[in-house]
């Protein structure tokens, strides 16, 4: 199995007036065909920045990719001309947005919006192709329902339509940005199952952006944990989440209320999430870390480990 999506030392900056804000620093990971990787982090961790950078949607004057490489199926995207990049987005990368009720256009029928992502399909075949796609995503009576408008669908059904748009071009890579966050708990499960089934059936290299460790565990084989623009830990889900080496990963797992004694204090992480404006020279988590050493504030720890997970920490947790 080859890596369909390969990110190496990716550096992304945002520009705010005279300031340059580092939103992603040295981000490295890969996603193989038929596997799912979760990019886990809080707001400001850089997880969405990485997803947007892969699709080359961070451009001046807002920001730019200032270093590293992004390869999709061996093709370097970082310096690809716009015309070719559009082709890549059309054919190789599918994107599922966070909130389908706002991502779909209320003025167009569902059919029109899916057809837009199926260029080159003969007119006569279009309806059938769309109906097949919708049916495979669990939308019954697809022939007639494709003529509906988004407001005639529930949140969960809208998300299925959004997934249909993402898969319409038969991509190799699927990027889903918090695909279940806007949905009710009971609807979430159906959508997660669907993304999981599509990954297997279509051998998609799936990148799931999420703040929810639980969703990462359900859907993914691998996980990349980001904090303050850097990857603090990455590896197989069972290693990283069951036996975290980076204190942030462990703290994230412990701050959930799941399985905690009722009405007793949680082990919350003190302080506030890192902001791009006040990024320390060393590890971004150091100011909130209970295991921090002197060196943590001044020097960025190099990625270490290999067997179970790769982590960037001067004073890692024991295995």
């Amino acid at each position: 199995m080859t890596a369909l999506l390969e990110i190496k030392n990716l550096e992304v900056d945002y520009f705010a007036g005279a300031d340059t804000l580092p939103a992603a620093r040295g981000v490295t990971f890969e996603v193989r065909a038929g596997t799912a990787t979760a990019l886990v982090g809080e707001s400001g961790s850089g997880k969405s920045t990485v997803a947007m950078a892969i699709m080359r949607m961070i451009r001046p004057p807002v920001g730019d990719i200032v270093g590293g490489s992004i390869e999709v199926d061996g093709l370097e995207l970082v310096d690809l001309p716009d015309r070719r990049m559009r082709e890549v987005l059309q054919r190789h990368i599918g994107f599922v947005p966070q909130d389908p009720t706002t991502a779909l256009d209320p003025l167009y029928r569902v059919r029109t919006q899916i057809a837009e992502s199926m260029p080159g399909v003969a007119r006569g075949e279009l309806n059938e192709r769309i109906a097949d796609l919708l049916a495979s995503l669990g939308i019954g009576d697809a022939m007639s329902r494709m003529r509906s408008y988004p407001h005639q669908f529930s949140g969960g059904m809208c998300q299925r339509v959004a997934i249909a748009i993402a898969l319409a071009g038969d991509p190799k890579v699927l990027i889903a940005d918090e695909p279940t966050t806007a949905l009710d708990v009971t609807t979430q499960v159906g959508i997660l199952r669907l993304v999981d089934r599509m990954r297997r059936e279509r051998q998609l290299a799936t990148l799931l952006i999420t703040h929810d460790v639980r969703v990462a565990r359900l859907l993914c084989q691998n996980v990349v944990v980001m904090y303050g623009g850097v990857v603090v830990e990455r590896g197989p889900v069972r290693d990283v989440l069951e036996a975290p080496r980076h204190p942030y990963t462990r703290a994230l797992m412990e701050s959930s209320a799941q399985g905690r004694a009722p009405r007793r204090p949680l082990r919350a992480i003190p302080g506030q999430p890192a902001t791009l404006r006040e990024m320390p020279a060393g590890c971004p988590f150091a100011p909130r870390c209970e295991r921090a050493l002197d060196i943590c504030a001044t020097a960025m720890p190099p990625p270490t480990g290999a067997e179970h997970s790769v982590f960037a920490c001067w004073n890692p947790e024991d295995r």
Partner: protein, 261 residues
């Protein structure tokens, strides 16, 4: 046990422009005891936000009663109403939209005091300092504007404001939903701590079953405006009776996506 807040057969019907009726809340009964946390669980369209609006008096029920310390709100006189708005306060979901961006924090948290006529700025600043301290914010923040704060800090400000008039009840409408995981733990701890110190009651509206179980003494489960289950939080979570409650708990405790038997 005397209740501080009680809803009896509370019903709210909205009329749509086409003359249709939407029953947002249907015959709901609940009581809230002093110092107690009542968790209200439900998905979108369950009526949880309608419930909070009715309890806060933002909207009037179509039928049914809201009782405060045993007295029907419809029989309230001017003084009762004034007591009620001070005794029942609220923290909303989104601290980015619930704080006035043009006011400084000391002004935001003591606004109610100003409305009550205690307008002395020195008094209000002193009160603000005490309130910010209570929610774990440094005194320097008093002169800041909301945009200078992170989401978790803003939610602390919203809690400080809710505490300003020593309320008996705080309605917490998804107060952690807009926050990061690492910060929502802090807010959860703060709420527990404040309840212990002050004896305030919480009506905690949420959709995260783990949070509800963690914070609540009792829970009410809403489905399409109706209460399908109500009882001791740990009992309901361990032995849910209604299929909908079971579904909610199963979804939140799912360990694998594989469909089994």
């Amino acid at each position: 046990m005397t209740s501080v807040l009680e809803a009896r057969d509370l019903t709210k019907v909205y009329q749509t422009t086409h003359g249709h009726e939407v029953r947002a809340l249907s015959g709901l009964n609940l009581t809230l005891a002093p110092g107690e946390t009542l968790g209200v669980v439900g998905e979108s369209g369950s009526g949880k936000t309608t419930l909070s609006r009715l309890l806060l008096g933002i909207e009037k029920p179509t039928s049914g009663e809201v009782l405060f310390r045993g007295k029907d709100r419809q029989q309230f006189g001017h003084a009762d109403r004034r007591e009620y708005v001070n005794a029942v306060s609220a923290v909303f979901q989104n601290p980015y939209s619930s704080l006035n961006p043009r006011r400084r924090l000391w002004d935001i948290v003591t606004e109610r005091q100003a409305i009550e006529g205690h307008t002395g700025k020195r008094d209000r600043r002193a009160r603000a300092a005490a309130l910010l301290d209570l929610v774990g914010l440094r005194a320097e923040f008093a002169e800041s504007f909301p945009h200078q704060l992170s989401g978790g800090q803003r939610q602390r400000v919203a809690i400080a404001r809710a505490l300003a008039q020593d309320p008996a009840v705080i309605i917490l409408d998804e107060p952690m939903s807009a926050l990061d995981v690492s910060v929502s733990g802090q807010i959860s701890n703060l709420l527990l701590d404040l309840q212990q110190q002050l004896g305030v009651s919480y009506l905690f509206i949420g959709h995260d079953m783990h949070q509800i179980r963690h914070l609540s003494h009792r829970v009410v489960v809403l489905l399409k405006g109706e209460c399908v289950e109500q009882g001791d939080a740990q009992t309901v979570m361990a032995h849910p009776q209604h299929p909908y409650t079971r579904g909610l708990i199963a979804a939140s405790e799912l360990e694998t996506l594989e469909v089994s038997g």
